[in-house]
Amino acid sequence: MNPAVPQPTPTAAKGTIPLAQVVIRLAGDSGDGMQLTGDRFTAETAGLGNDLSTLPDFPAEIRAPAGTLPGVSAFQLHFADHDIMTPGDRPDVLVAMNPAALRANVDALRPGGDLLINTDEFTKRNLSKVGYVDSPLDDESLNAYSVHLVPLTSMTVTALADFNVSKKEAERAKNMFALGLLCWLYSRPTEGTMSFLRSKFGTKPEIMAANVAAFEAGWSFGETTEDFAVRYEVKPAPMGPGTYRNIAGNLALSYGLIAAGQQSGLPIFLGSYPITPASDILHELSKHKALGVTTFQAEDEIAGIGAALGASYGGALGITSTSGPGVALKSETIGLAVSLELPLLIIDVQRGGPSTGLPTKTEQSDLLQAMFGRNGEAPVPIVAPQSPGDCFAAAVEAARIAIQFRTPVFLLSDGYLANGSEPWRVPDIASLDTIDPDFATEANHERSDGEAEYWPYLRDPQTLARPWAIPGTPGLEHRIGGLEKADGSGEISYDPANHDQMVRLRQAKVDAIAATIPPLVVDDPDGDARLLVIGWGSTYGPIGAACRRIRDAGCSVAQVHLRHLNPFPTNLGEILGAYDRVLVPEMNLGQLNLVLRGRYLIDAVGFNQVRGMPFTSDELVIAINGILDDLAARKGDPT
């Protein structure tokens, strides 16, 4: 054995300390397998019944130069014995696989937190790559933390000395050693990881055996080393009855699309072009041909939506998935879909912009693009999920609106929802509403000569939706296009009054959707709040967590969250008017706020950040308290 490696000393069985919640961040080089390690730890944690929330944070480069700051990949997991809403503001535990990972993440670690460092990578060369003149392991810069120095790489290589793998392959298993150690430290089960490794490396038995051994060696090291005096335990969180699984947003969204296909009886057709962070939707749906899904990887974003619209014209549920830059390219076709009045889903998994921006980071800056980003008056309904698991229900809802109202619909997810995960109660398929495509099969108008004919723009008086006759329906042959159509007959019309009428009808149809969406419910447990915090999309968790902390501190604050952004729920104006102050936190420079101020004439204030990361509840608590303090001060002010 390598004498340089500290040998574990057997100790008596260690005590277990119960914890209510823990935030762990795993950070390493892009090639260190941090995302995989995080996924596995999450799976074991979900299986234990903890509530959890995850935040993967990785660079856009596939493999930036090894050991550099741009190459750092991190995965944060928050798990608890109670209901939680965010991946956590600051980690309690940081695993740093190299100096770059330490440098990029150590400032986030809670003072007093545990810092587990892979000392093997702290070479002079690696230190200098990230600007460390002296090793932080040798000075006092880490004194605020509980530091655990573990030579992860060399211990893994030693543990695998008898295995038929190269040194490089042995070194690559160090993430499994780290995972084993963490699983011991937090009393996680191990069977899931074992069976995962067996299936992942099924065709490479040597690699599989080495990874299993590395994982076991990490566990045993925890059990025997004196460095960790105790292990921790986080009890399962109470959850309502049901079957749960851990799920990431892109996966839940993909499943929602498949469910919408089943509930409507329409084949699903996805036309898409690969783009971060939306590509996983294309990947996932391409696996489910047996469930009536066709996927088409197009030559560009425009062809992706074009093919989807062509499929919708033929009677499928056409869907296109993309991110902000792709939406820009699809705009003209979205306008055509508005004019054709055909069902179409546009899924925008938002990322940092403008232009290529921050491909792997999250942002909410496409709201105005979705709402207004087309030529002409071209209203498009918008639905936004509020958590990774909620992407399922939001996708079903977007499809319902598209099919029922014959309209393109935006589904605005974002990078945080896409890759983050949480426990999700698996819905009972039988409980989902059916969606009736209600295809036209008969003529709907009588000509002056008594002959029956089909008018493609003779609307339903209630919903203002037009009939949908698909090719292959005898007797209903008709021609439609992007030119303005005569109200009713759908024939080309350049008549000024008709155009004015059609523009208003298309808007009225989208407005009519509001009658089919539930009224907003404000969360104001004390009932006397004077401040309303309103958000949309993925900020639901951080805003909710911040409001809880405000209330725990004895103050009142109300929260309401928007799922439908166009049209707004009918009671939104009334709600906004009922509070002295309205705060609108957004990961943009105030896009929802602009619309709320314009539409409801209220003096809402924004709280805005575009850092590519979700809000922390800390910063929201500060923002909310600032307004509460101001309100309290004015209360005593006679003027």
């Binding site: 019944g49 089943q262 989807a308 090719p471 021609r479 439609i480 296009g481």
Partner: protein
Amino acid sequence: MTDIDTGSSPALTLVPHTDQKQTAKDFKSDQEVRWCPGCGDYAILAAVQGFLPELGLRRENITFVSGIGCSSRFPYYMNTYGLHSIHGRAPAIATGLAVSRPDLSVWVVTGDGDALSIGGNHLIHALRRNVNINILLFNNRIYGLTKGQYSPTSETGKITKSTPMGSLDYSFNPVSVALGAEATFVGRTIDSDRAHLTSVLRAAAAHEGTSLVEIYQNCNIFNDDAWEALKDRDSSDDMLIRLEHGQPIVFGSGQDKAVVRQDDGHVAVVDISEVSADRILIHDAHADDPGLAFALSRLSDPHSLADTPIGIFRDVQRTSYDRLVREQSQAAAKTGSADLASLLHGTDSWTVI
């Protein structure tokens, strides 16, 4: 071109046929045709309406999809399903329609600007994928709807509103572009030659996969007589090379010219008296390699139009994209799970009572 039985063509076996006799009138919509008087589009419209009854398809199972431009008004005049879309995107839209609806006969109508300028990308990708659609490309070498700017097929040096000193662009030859994209069916015909136009349409309809038919079409307002050299009774026989599969490539008013492959591999037009009969190329539209068809497409002079081949350059069998999609779906349906509930539960779920 005469030995094709459209009734049993693999391109149309999934499209419902009708026993009722159809005429051209059945395919005329009630819309007033609004092209300029004298436009070549009228002749093409009449030829298409006159030819469709031959296919014996149910009218409701035929769909015309177009982009933007004069030619793209075509669907409004057909009493079938029709979709007038946006500039350049018709091949993409038709791809989604054809892939999801194998029971439809899908036709794309486009022009030289729509297909080769703004929509060039979609055109080449539709051709390489070989989706089961028919593309009719009306080439008049000018932008008509925007009132007379040069197009990607305009001859270099063309004086137009946007090029008062002459256009600088080198022009596209649509047949060469299509063959470069390895299209499985590429034909060329002329608006005014009803019989030839119909014969090429017939072969295109019978072809499974993407068929591209370039139709030389006259814009009498902005580019009148662009193809006149090929239409003039006196000169056309000396200009036009009429390609017939299996026939030696001989043309000229006195059948005095022939196409041969030279020693250096190039294809050239020669005086028939200069070569022995066995040197004359026999046209093989079914050749797997598109090289010779491409060489034929390069013969014509873009300015004088001398030595312009028309007819079917290439007509080869390659399984269509939409058929491959259906085969994958059918294979998945046999082996894969169609149980949504078990998919949602996944492999790592837990139950709370």
